[in-house]
């Protein structure tokens, strides 16, 4: 290690890896995240990639980015402003430069700034010499060349060798932030278990990157981000989609049911299917259906058969499921529907994030078809949200939709994973012999919570028929009786409303219990709002945060909570949806703050709005 290098302590650092889709930026980011998390930092990530599988190399539309913030304090967002941008080529630099803090550092791979790359990035001048980067600290390294250099004695082709240049970056950053290579080496060992020559090459380049830092003087400072003071416990890093998948398995396990997941691939929900497909040893049955209608219908069929039926998709696919969800509401069977929202309308921005399916979730069916709706607020919280959705679906015999989004799905954070024995038990209301009256089973007889009993084919003496026509109270027989219809519509509504008695009261997340401004959010805006509110409070402002998990029904005390503040601000990544529900429910003139750009809020955008209305 060069002698004259010092360590500067930092509370948090935001790094953005940007390069071509083929440059392995997602993998690099994930590895860097995991290493920091394992070290003990709090971390929040934001992968951002093009809709194309391999968008044209070197072009602006082909840029793949992975941003993360890691820190020694609690971290709730991937960072507004980037401290270190790693740009593997000109396009990566140009499409992300605006995110870099003035005075921030830019690490460029000079090979990515040749004439061809500049042309592809539609850049007339070379930004490395044009003065464009004057306000930044620029570190130029010919990463491509150094990588090839490191591998020149191996049997790898130039092309193959070049492909590991992301390991050079990673090694260099490990040096810069004083991190160990162990976790990444272990990962590489697993990944290339059957390709020893690639394993060797990747490790070699990783170490070369590290040693380059050590050996040269490109940086005269290194940075030290200490372990975060997180609540005690055991942690792992997890993405939203993985947490969603695991949450389903846990809920099925704790309710003693098999998990059935019927789905049709769609970005950004597909990873849930992938994750679950791997977990068959948990009695997980995955069914890749022919379309979304078959996916949801198969899940209902599975629930009818006594499994926990779950289906998942994104906006356009959810649209297709609505008719069948209406049936599930009518049948009163457990069903969990996961919507990993993406930019819309229509095909929209398939790989980008948005919160614009709330209306669809709450209102998007024919007839009076109330649906319970729950939202996840962070990647790890997807676990809780889907677990809770399953609990409500099973114990209340009703479909429940959970709203995640592209940002949560692919983003990750440290998760203090629970102990199995601490998971809330889930009790399926299976019909018992005692539910027979005069040997007759009344499938639509209800308990005090208005929940009917679950009788599953195979149970002798409980044979019964269900269907989508209006049914007579108690017997479930088809009924066209006017009064019965009104009664059943109201009963189904009351049953969903009743869920409010089975969920926690709304708490204030940050700040005082009453005061001037309450920032009310739902879903993945949690981290940005939390950070904004915390910073405002630090600046001495009277601001609080409440964040909704339960969107339908709303918590019983919500009106009371809202009324304790002079103003309510509702930031959403849509054109205003929750704000309309709140206006409707409570005749409350909440202030909307909307961002519809396929990317999450910056903390500052929320802070500015708070200040504007303060």
């Amino acid at each position: 290690m060069s002698e004259n290098i010092t360590f500067e302590k930092k509370k948090h650092i935001t790094v953005l890896f940007a390069g071509d889709s083929g440059d392995g930026m997602q993998l690099t980011g994930t590895q860097f995240t995991n290493t920091n998390a394992l070290y003990g930092n709090d971390v929040s990530t934001f992968p951002n990639f093009p809709a194309e599988i391999r968008a044209p190399q070197g072009t602006l539309s082909g840029v793949s980015g992975f941003q993360l913030q890691f820190g020694s304090n609690e971290i709730y967002t991937p960072g507004d402003e980037v401290d270190l941008l790693v740009a593997m080529n000109a396009a990566g630099l140009l499409s992300n430069l605006h995110k870099v803090k003035k005075g921030g550092t830019i690490l460029v791979n000079t090979s990515g700034f040749d004439a061809k790359n500049l042309r592809l990035a539609k850049s007339e001048e070379n930004p490395l010499i044009s003065g464009l980067l004057n306000e930044y600290r620029v570190i130029e390294i010919d990463i491509t060349k150094l990588t090839k250099e490191a591998l020149k004695d191996t049997a790898l082709s130039t092309k193959e060798a070049e492909r590991s240049k992301n390991m050079f970056v990673l090694g260099f950053l490990y040096w810069l932030y004083n991190r160990k290579l162990d976790a990444t080496i272990q990962f590489l060992e697993e990944k290339f278990a059957h390709k020893p020559e690639l394993l060797e090459a990747n490790v070699k380049v990783l170490k070369a990157g590290y040693n380059y830092g050590d050996a040269t003087n490109v940086f005269t400072e290194r940075y030290e981000v200490e372990k975060a003071k997180l609540p005690k416990g055991e942690y792992r890093n997890i993405t939203g989609n993985a947490a969603t998948a695991i949450g389903m398995i846990a809920a099925a396990h704790q309710s003693g049911l098999d998990l059935f997941y019927g789905s049709y691939p769609i970005t950004p929900a597909s990873d849930i299917l992938h994750e679950l497909s791997k977990r068959k040893n948990f009695n997980v049955k995955t069914f890749q259906a022919e379309d979304e209608i078959a996916a949801v219908s198969s899940a209902i069929g599975a629930s009818f058969g006594g499994a926990l039926g779950v289906t998942g998709s994104s906006g356009p696919g959810i649209a297709l499921k609505m008719e069948a969800i209406g049936l599930a509401i009518m049948l009163e069977l457990p069903l969990v529907i996961v919507n990993v929202q993406r930019g819309g309308p229509s095909t929209g921005l398939p790989t980008k994030t948005e919160q614009a399916d709330l209306f669809q979730a709450v209102y998007g069916r024919n007839g009076e078809a109330p649906l319970a709706v729950i939202a996840a607020k962070t990647p790890a919280d997807c676990f809780n949200a889907v677990y809770e959705a399953a609990r409500i679906a099973i114990e209340h015999m009703t479909p429940v939709m959970i709203l995640s989004d592209g940002y949560l799905a692919n983003g990750s954070e440290p998760w203090r994973y629970p102990k199995v024995e601490h998971l809330r038990p889930i009790k399926p209301p299976f019909a018992q012999k005692s539910d027979l009256s005069d040997d007759v089973f009344l499938p639509y007889h209800r308990d005090k919570k208005l929940v009917r009993k679950w009788a599953v084919p195979g149970m002798k003496g409980f044979e019964h028929r269900v269907g989508g026509l209006e049914k007579e109270a108690e017997t479930g027989n088809v009924s066209y009786d006017p009064e019965n219809h009104e009664k059943m519509v109201k009963t189904r509504q009351a049953k969903v409303d009743n869920i409010a008695n089975d969920i926690p009261q709304q708490a204030i997340e940050t700040g005082k219990e009453s005061g001037k401004v309450l920032v009310l959010g739902w879903g993945s805006t949690f981290g940005a709002i939390k950070t904004a509110v915390m910073e405002c409070i630090e600046e001495g402002m009277d601001v609080s945060q409440a964040h909704l998990t339960y969107l339908n029904p709303l918590p019983r005390n919500l009106e009371d909570v809202l009324n304790r503040f002079e103003k309510v601000l509702i930031p959403e990544m849509n054109n205003g949806q929750l704000v309309h529900i709140i206006r409707d429910k409570f005749l409350l003139n909440a202030v909307p703050l909307n961002k519809i750009q396929g990317v999450p809020f910056a903390v500052n955008e929320i802070k500015e709005k708070i200040k504007e209305i303060y």
């Binding site: 995991n34 070290y39 003990g40 976790a183 997180l230 609540p231 005690k232 416990g233 055991e234 942690y235 792992r236 890093n237 997890i238 695991i246 398995i249 846990a250 098999d258 059935f260 019927g262 068959k280 040893n281 948990f282 997980v284 049955k285 069914f287 259906a289 022919e290 379309d291 209608i293 078959a294 996916a295 219908s297 198969s298 209902i300 069929g301 599975a302 629930s303 009818f304 058969g305 006594g306 499994a307 049936l327 049948l331 203090r416 994973y417 629970p418 199995v420 599953v456 084919p457 195979g458 149970m459 002798k460 003496g461 044979e463 019964h464 028929r465 269900v466 269907g467 989508g468 026509l469």
Partner: protein, 348 residues
């Protein structure tokens, strides 16, 4: 489908009445659905499955009211999607005996995709397609099996759509059991129902069913005494394909070209005729194409019976087998391990 006979020790002796629910049957008087209901209720005591293990799942249509009338488990689902409900149910519980009830609109119009997919996957279920060549429940629009030219409420000047031949579509979709029968031949219907139930996999049974209100007599030539014998070709495995007023006609194959012969007149013996082999796909393809309008001259008779049968792995068994294999390979899932993941750290 075929289902393992469970509960054999204290096996209950059912009668057809045990399968009759307490709900009033609400089809039009004279509807062909009644006969089908009755034959199903009649054969169920013979299949040796406890009532609680039997499930009827339907879509929407007159025919799809069927489950309400069965004293078993049942679901009247939504239009066209019954195959998907069945698939989910069978994966969740492969022990059940599941019947899928559908109509020509339900199965072939809105539900066409689910039908072809359940067939290719070979989910173990008995698919009874009530083909009346019309939409009954919505009061008389044409369906994908209505013949060209038919005047209906939605085709006042005649249908211009070329119809599906359901058994050909089933073949195109890789079905493993393909049969055709008709409401007005109860004995034969029962036979086919039992065969369908004995087949392991998706048993596709097209049942010509008379809609007395909106498409009366669509299949009269195949059921009326005066025409039946010359228009119906009964396919029986291992037997020659004979038909005609006095069984005087038969079908033979010239190479791969079928031809109608007056066999005795032409000096042929039964052995010279086409002997039906339901396991022969090439021949099944030819028989399936006997789909002429019976009003055209020199037409082939319409075949009834089992066109084709083939053993092939059953989807939900494969799904469940894979679950077992993965368990064997990795051990029964340990939830705490899953929650923990691969890399953890401790904050003190």
């Amino acid at each position: 489908m075929s289902t393992p006979v469970t509960n054999t020790e204290n096996k209950i002796q059912y009668t057809a009445k045990d399968f009759t629910s307490d709900q009033e049957v609400k089809w039009c008087p004279g509807c062909g659905d009644y006969s089908i209901l009755k034959q199903v209720q009649t054969i169920l005591p013979q299949i040796g499955v406890p009532r609680e293990n039997i499930v009827f799942i339907s879509g929407i249509g007159c025919s799809s009211r069927f489950p309400y009338y069965m004293n078993t488990y049942g679901m009247h689902s939504i239009h066209g999607r019954a195959p998907a409900f069945v698939t989910g149910l069978r994966i969740a519980n492969p022990e059940l005996n599941v019947w899928l009830i559908t109509g020509d609109g339900d199965a072939l119009s809105i539900g066409g995709n689910h039908l072809i997919h359940i067939l290719r996957r070979n989910v173990n279920t008995n698919i009874l397609l009530f083909n009346n060549e019309i939409y009954g429940l919505t009061k008389g629009q044409y369906s994908p099996t209505s013949p060209e030219g038919l005047k209906t409420k939605s085709s006042p000047y005649g249908v211009v759509d070329h119809p599906f031949n359901p058994v050909r579509l089933a073949m195109g979709a890789e079905a493993t059991f393909i049969a055709r029968t008709v409401d007005r031949d109860p004995k034969f219907l029962r036979e086919i129902l039992l065969e369908a139930n004995n087949h392991k996999g998706s048993s596709f049974v097209e049942i010509y069913q008379n809609c007395i209100v909106f498409n009366d007599k669509a299949f009269e030539v195949y059921t009326d005494k005066t025409t039946k014998k010359k228009e119906v070709l009964m396919m029986k495995h291992g037997e020659p394909l004979i038909f005609g007023e006095d069984d005087e006609k038969a079908v033979v194959l010239d190479g791969y070209t079928p031809r109608i012969v007056e066999w005795e007149k032409e000096g042929l013996s039964k052995d010279d005729l086409w002997i039906h082999d339901m396991f022969d796909k090439y021949k099944a393809n030819i028989l399936i194409d006997f789909f002429d309008d019976p009003k055209t001259p020199h037409h082939f008779p319409r075949p009834f019976g089992i066109f084709y049968k083939k053993e092939r792995a059953v989807y939900e068994e494969m799904v469940n087998k894979q679950v077992e294999e993965v368990k064997k390979q990795f051990g029964e899932g340990d939830l705490q391990k899953l929650l923990k993941g691969e890399h953890t750290w401790t904050v003190e």
